[in-house]
C-alpha cells in the first residue's frame, strides 16, 4: 500500500457506508433462514455435498444483490 494516502478506504470500499437498520434486520433474518435451510435439508436426509452446494448457491446470489444494493446506497 506504499504511496497510498488512505489504505483503509481501499481495503474497505464500504467504510463510509451507514447501513440502514432495515437492512441490518434483513441480513439477520437471512442468516437465520440459511441456518434453517441447512437444518431442514439435513433432517430430510439430503447428503452434505448437496447441502453445501445449495447453501453456497443461495449465499452467492444474495451476496451479488447485497453488493449492488450497498453500492446504490453509497451514491
Amino acid at each position: 500500500m506504499a504511496g497510498c494516502d488512505k489504505p483503509e478506504a481501499i481495503l474497505d470500499p464500504f467504510s463510509d457506508l451507514e447501513i440502514p437498520a432495515e437492512l441490518e434486520e434483513s441480513l439477520q433474518r437471512h442468516r437465520e433462514n440459511l441456518v434453517r435451510l441447512a437444518t431442514t435439508l439435513r433432517c430430510a436426509g439430503v447428503d452434505e455435498t448437496q447441502i453445501e452446494q445449495s447453501v453456497s448457491v443461495i449465499v452467492d446470489s444474495y451476496k451479488e444483490e447485497l453488493i449492488r444494493a450497498m453500492k446504490r446506497m453509497m451514491r
Binding site: P20, E22, L23, E25, S26, R29, H30, N33, L34, R36, L37, T39, T40, L41, C43, A44, G45, V46, Q50, S54, V57, I58, S61, Y62, E64, E65, L66, R68, A69, R72, M73
Partner: protein, 340 residues
C-alpha cells in the same frame, strides 16, 4: 410461523386484500425480467424435491404472475383458477396430494388441461409485516403426498425468496424519506409506459421541486433540510392512492406517478398537495415553512421513453419555477406559453 386455528379468524391481514396488494406493489417486482437469484432457488427446489414444476408465484389483483418458474412456459394465469390464491389465504402450507380428489380443484382447467396439475404443495411468501404476497410452490403431474420434512424444506426456501424480495425493496428505498430511489421510481415509470402502450390507461408523472431548498440548508443546516425532505415526502404520500408511487429523483426533487387517473384529478390532487405544503409548519427552531413547484406530464402517444416523459415534466416544472414558484404547471401549458 405456527398460528393456532382459533387465531386465524383474528388474523385480519389474511383478509386485508388492499393491504396485501399494497405490500406486493411495494416490492415493485411484477412484470420485471427473470433474475438468476430466483431461478436458482426454483432450480434447487426442483432438484431437492424431485418435482417437474416449481414457481415463485405472486398474486396480483386479478392474476398470478411468476417471478420464476421451471417446468412451465406461461408467465401468468388468471387468479381465479390459480392454486396459489388459496395458499395465500392461510399461514400454513397448502398441500393437495391429489387435485382430482379435491372438490376445490377437481374441475380446474389447470388440472384437466395443461399443465395437468395432479399434486401441489405451496408455501405462502409472507412479508416481515405479515402479508402473504404469493407462494413458492411445487407441482407434479402424478398424485403425490409430500412428507413433513419436505414441507419444511419448502418453507425454508420460501423464507429465502422473501429475503431476496426484501433486499431489492430496501435497495430501492430512499432511507431518509421512505420514497423510492430514482432507480426504483424509473423502473415503475418504465412499467407504466409499457402498460400505457399496451392498454392506454391514463397515467401522469408529476415532478415536485422544493422551492429555495438550498436556502433552508444554508440558513438552518442539513438537519433542518432533512426534516423538510421528510415532511414533503410524508405529505405527498398522504395524498397518494394505493396504486400511485413517490420517488426521490435527487436532492430536493421528487416524482409522483399517478396510475389510471384523468388529468383533472391529477391537477386537483397536485394542487391540494401544493396547498398542504404551503400551509404546513415543520417543527424546528424556528418552525420551517416551505413551498414547492410542480410540473405535470400526462402520458400520450408521442412519449416513447422514460427520458422523454421526464423531460416533459421537467419543462413544465421549469415553467412553474420561471413564473413565480409555488405553483403547478402542465406540460401542455409549456407549449401554450412558448407559442405566445
Amino acid at each position: 410461523m405456527s398460528v393456532p386455528d382459533s387465531s386465524l379468524q383474528d388474523d385480519f391481514k389474511l383478509q386485508d386484500e388492499a393491504g396485501r396488494l399494497a405490500a406486493l406493489h411495494r416490492y415493485a417486482v411484477l412484470d420485471t425480467p427473470n433474475e438468476e437469484a430466483f431461478d436458482r432457488i426454483t432450480g434447487l427446489v426442483k432438484s431437492v424435491l424431485g418435482v417437474p414444476i416449481c414457481t415463485v408465484a405472486l398474486i396480483d389483483a386479478d392474476r398470478q404472475w411468476f417471478k420464476s418458474c421451471v417446468g412451465l412456459s406461461n408467465r401468468e394465469t388468471s387468479r381465479d383458477i390459480s392454486f396459489c390464491t388459496h395458499t395465500i389465504m392461510e399461514r400454513e402450507p397448502l398441500h393437495i396430494p391429489d387435485a382430482k380428489l379435491d372438490a376445490r380443484f377437481a374441475d380446474n382447467p389447470l388440472v384437466n388441461g395443461d399443465p395437468h396439475i395432479r399434486s401441489y404443495l405451496g408455501v405462502p411468501l409472507a412479508t416481515p409485516d405479515g402479508y402473504n404476497v404469493g407462494s413458492l410452490c411445487v407441482i407434479d403431474d402424478v398424485p403425490r403426498s409430500f412428507r413433513q420434512d419436505q414441507i419444511e424444506i419448502l418453507k425454508s426456501f420460501a423464507a429465502l425468496v422473501v429475503d431476496e424480495l426484501e433486499l431489492r425493496r430496501i435497495a430501492q428505498t430512499d432511507h431518509l424519506t421512505g420514497a423510492a430511489t430514482r432507480r426504483g421510481f424509473t423502473l415503475e415509470m418504465e412499467k407504466s409506459l409499457a402498460r400505457f402502450k399496451r392498454a392506454g390507461h391514463p397515467t401522469a408523472l408529476v415532478m415536485l421541486d422544493i422551492d429555495h431548498f438550498k436556502r433552508v440548508n444554508d440558513t438552518y443546516g442539513h438537519p433542518a433540510g432533512d426534516l423538510v425532505l421528510r415532511a414533503v415526502a410524508s405529505e405527498a404520500m398522504a395524498q397518494l392512492r394505493q396504486a400511485d408511487s413517490l420517488g426521490r429523483l435527487g436532492g430536493e426533487e421528487f416524482g409522483i406517478l399517478f396510475q389510471d387517473i384523468e388529468i383533472e384529478h391529477v391537477r386537483t390532487t397536485t394542487e391540494r398537495l401544493r396547498v398542504c405544503l404551503e400551509s404546513r409548519s415543520i417543527p424546528f427552531e424556528p418552525p420551517l415553512k416551505v413551498t414547492a413547484s410542480f410540473g405535470i406530464a400526462v402520458l400520450d402517444a408521442d412519449v416513447n421513453t422514460v427520458q422523454d416523459w421526464l423531460a416533459l415534466a421537467d419543462e413544465a416544472l421549469y415553467l412553474a419555477k420561471r413564473t413565480g414558484r409555488n405553483r403547478c404547471c402542465i406540460a401542455s401549458d409549456v407549449e401554450i406559453t412558448a407559442n405566445r
